[in-house]
Symmetry: C2
Subunit: 409 residues, 2 copies
DNA sequence: AGTATTTACGAACGCTCGCTATCTATACTG
DNA sequence: CAGTATAGATAGCGAGCGTTCGTAAATACT
């Protein structure tokens, strides 16, 4: 019964294609309302066709009608304008960490309706599920979205996520944590598709969407842990499921991966804990340095970068060492992927230009096409934003009958 | 005048979609001929629609009609069967190296019609153009394809190729060689689109096509030079144009890329020349070894692997060293890409299991998901095959109006 | 050898849809 | 208050697909 090739059919298929084409055109210009004439121009369809499609979409609740714009003082009869009715299918993004739960609600147009964050001092797995439920209801209330309207949920989880089964390897930090339980729990609260993905992947998706356009993006999440997501022309690259695990890159000439350890060599070498440790050691060796002054005994990763920004040579040496190790580890992948840009997010990204310049200098020696090196502008919201983004993509893919639309906006 | 979104139109558009759908169904089952009833089943269209489309495609020369199969002893009136008329748009693949020119002609169904190879002791750029012309006409004659029928040409060139302009950086080996001249020259001989791409990319495309299906493939070409191509779900990944340049991966802790040098650190460390040099040195150090016996003074890369296969410890040590350096250089990229398979082709691939096992052992220590590690079955034909494949893809993309077809065969 | 059966091709009819052209409605301008 | 420009609504036409029926060609049975 499996039809091999979709793509043809009767005239009703054609109709659906055209309706989808109109809807897609509206989506592209969201949140700006569009006049029918503009839709005619953008879709290349005839006016009656577009009008009929718009009627249909209005009835189905996908579009909403606007009154004539008071600012639009043009000649002639004022045009009816339509725009995406975002609340037709709101989506939910989850970012679940051991100490923090973030939930975001977005409408179809990608407008953020609400964002609720709750921090705690480390929950148990059971408590965490409870907290997640609370935060979800809170976020939905704030967005004024009934639970039954939610069209898709994407949750972010650290570790390596099997895209379909939702199984997670290498789960850290929360004992007894199971993403399968999470999925079940959420599906119990909200009757809609629930998906799970790696947090670095989702952050990459968000950053790619913010940058827009095509090309290859390597988005590094750099905190205590180290991961990366790859987005190629808007699509996430997953490999067999574990793509982007840069934390496990070997650094020393004799490093190997220890399957028992949930952290990889590069994480141990340049993760935020390692940076702080290097800083503390340097402060001990050079008690006269600005670094030692700043940090004292409770020296933090941020202190290292602050001291380096003040041109303390001791701190600068630490940053140099970290940048060198990072660049050497990443350079092979940059040569292979040849990305348009490399974006660094996560806690360490707060270091700013000090670190970025040091890495950039190193990469210049080790790569052919030097990609743009940037800091993530999304800061700590990257993962939730990406989760919402992915949920949106899922909804659109499910709702739009036409598989591929040309992306020439 | 630029219409933003294609995808809708009148009924003629629908017709074109359906015709394309039928053509695509025939293509999928090539070279097996299909009955109309089978096409009806596979496309999901009604019989008259399919029949009309088939008529149209027969008139246009895309399909050819078969007599009833004598082996098909079924009841009832024998069905007319149609199959792809490969000669409707034959394509040409070129593999141009300093010492060897290979030209392949393929029909639309991917059947190899001819393959002509000519070797020489190093031509000048001018001579090379002449040789290329000769080999092309020879290959076309053998395939019985008139020059004016050729629908697309793809040429392989070493170095980094800008996909559109055809400009080449890092050209080695042939002084005065310009890929632009090549394109002009070929376009003079054959009036059709001529494209150029990196040889490693094309080899990767061929290997991916041979393996079939989806997933991520990292195809390494390992000879004197070292390059790789990445194919993700059938599509080549180019990055900004220089993806896959693994030859430039730094090996030593202080390696840097020298922009003046056309060869990169890894090439210098484990290219076939380097392997031979390591072998010669080992033979000098251990004149009693099997390696020294085999190779003598003119010791070759092949001798090293042969001696290692005979369990000569000296040669095995060399292989071990090479495998280690290669695996350490490639491991980061495998972690990032997480490919389904890594396939090694090129001259060094002739080493066989000795090298493969050594690399595999190393990679097991350095990666999370261990990809399948294989040798290319295509041997020296990989690049031409890939060139033909790419030319085919180009023709199909140009001819099929529908952008995306589901790939669930 | 003649008939029945099975399978496939071919043609006519009706339906839906989109495009062109025309007409009506609305608001601003002089 | 008339004129004009823009937008929305409506009728007619053409094209394509799907359904249905009739016909052709081969095999199997009597």
């Amino acid at each position: 019964m499996s039809k091999g090739t979709v793509g043809g059919g009767g005239t009703t298929m054609l109709r659906r294609i055209n309706v989808a084409s109109v809807l897609d055109a509206v989506r592209r210009s969201a949140p700006a309302p569009l006049r029918v004439a503009e839709l005619v121009e953008r879709t290349g369809l005839a006016r009656p066709t577009v009008a009929q499609a718009v009627d249909e979409l209005l009835d189905a609740g996908w579009l909403q009608q606007h009154g004539p714009d008071s600012a639009d003082r043009s000649l002639g009869r004022p045009a009816i304008r339509v725009s995406l009715r975002g609340r037709a299918a709101p989506v939910l993004g989850l970012d679940v960490g051991p100490h923090r739960v973030t939930v975001g609600v977005s409408d179809l147009a990608g407008r953020k309706l609400s964002l609720v964050r709750r921090s705690g001092p480390g929950w148990t797995a059971q408590e965490l599920l409870g907290v997640i439920g609370e935060v979800i209801t809170e976020a939905l209330a704030e967005a004024e979205v009934p639970a039954e309207d939610v069209a898709a949920v994407v949750a972010a989880s650290p570790g390596i996520v099997d895209e379909h089964t939702g199984r997670v390897q290498l789960v850290p930090s929360v004992p007894g944590w199971s993403a399968i339980d999470l999925i079940k729990h959420v599906r119990g609260l909200l009757d809609c598709p629930v998906m799970l993905d790696n947090d670095a992947n989702l952050a990459a998706l968000a950053i790619a969407a913010a940058r827009g356009g095509t090309g290859t993006l390597l988005a590094v999440q750099w905190g205590e842990r180290l991961g990366a997501g790859i987005v190629i022309d808007g699509r996430l690259h997953r490999g067999t499921g574990a793509a982007g695990e840069i934390g496990f890159i070997a650094t020393g000439p004799d490093d190997v991966i220890n399957p028992e350890d949930s952290r990889g060599p590069l994480e141990r070498a340049v993760g935020s804990e390692a940076i702080a440790a290097l800083g503390r050691q340097a402060a001990l060796d050079h008690p006269e340095s600005r670094l030692a002054e700043l940090g004292g005994d409770q020296l933090d990763t941020a202190d290292v970068f602050a001291a380096a920004a003040e041109r303390d040579p001791v701190a600068q040496a630490v940053v140099q060492q970290v940048a060198r190790a990072f660049a050497r580890a990443l350079a092979p992948s940059i040569l292979v992927l040849d990305p348009t840009a490399v974006v660094i997010g996560g806690g360490v990204a707060r270091a700013g230009a000090v670190l970025l310049d040091a890495i950039s200098d190193q990469l210049r020696l080790l790569t052919l096409n030097h990609p743009k090196l940037e800091l993530s502008a999304l800061a700590e919201d990257a993962v939730v934003t990406g989760a919402m983004r992915m949920a949106l993509d899922e909804v659109w893919q499910r709702k739009l009958p036409t598989p591929a639309m040309t992306s020439t906006t």
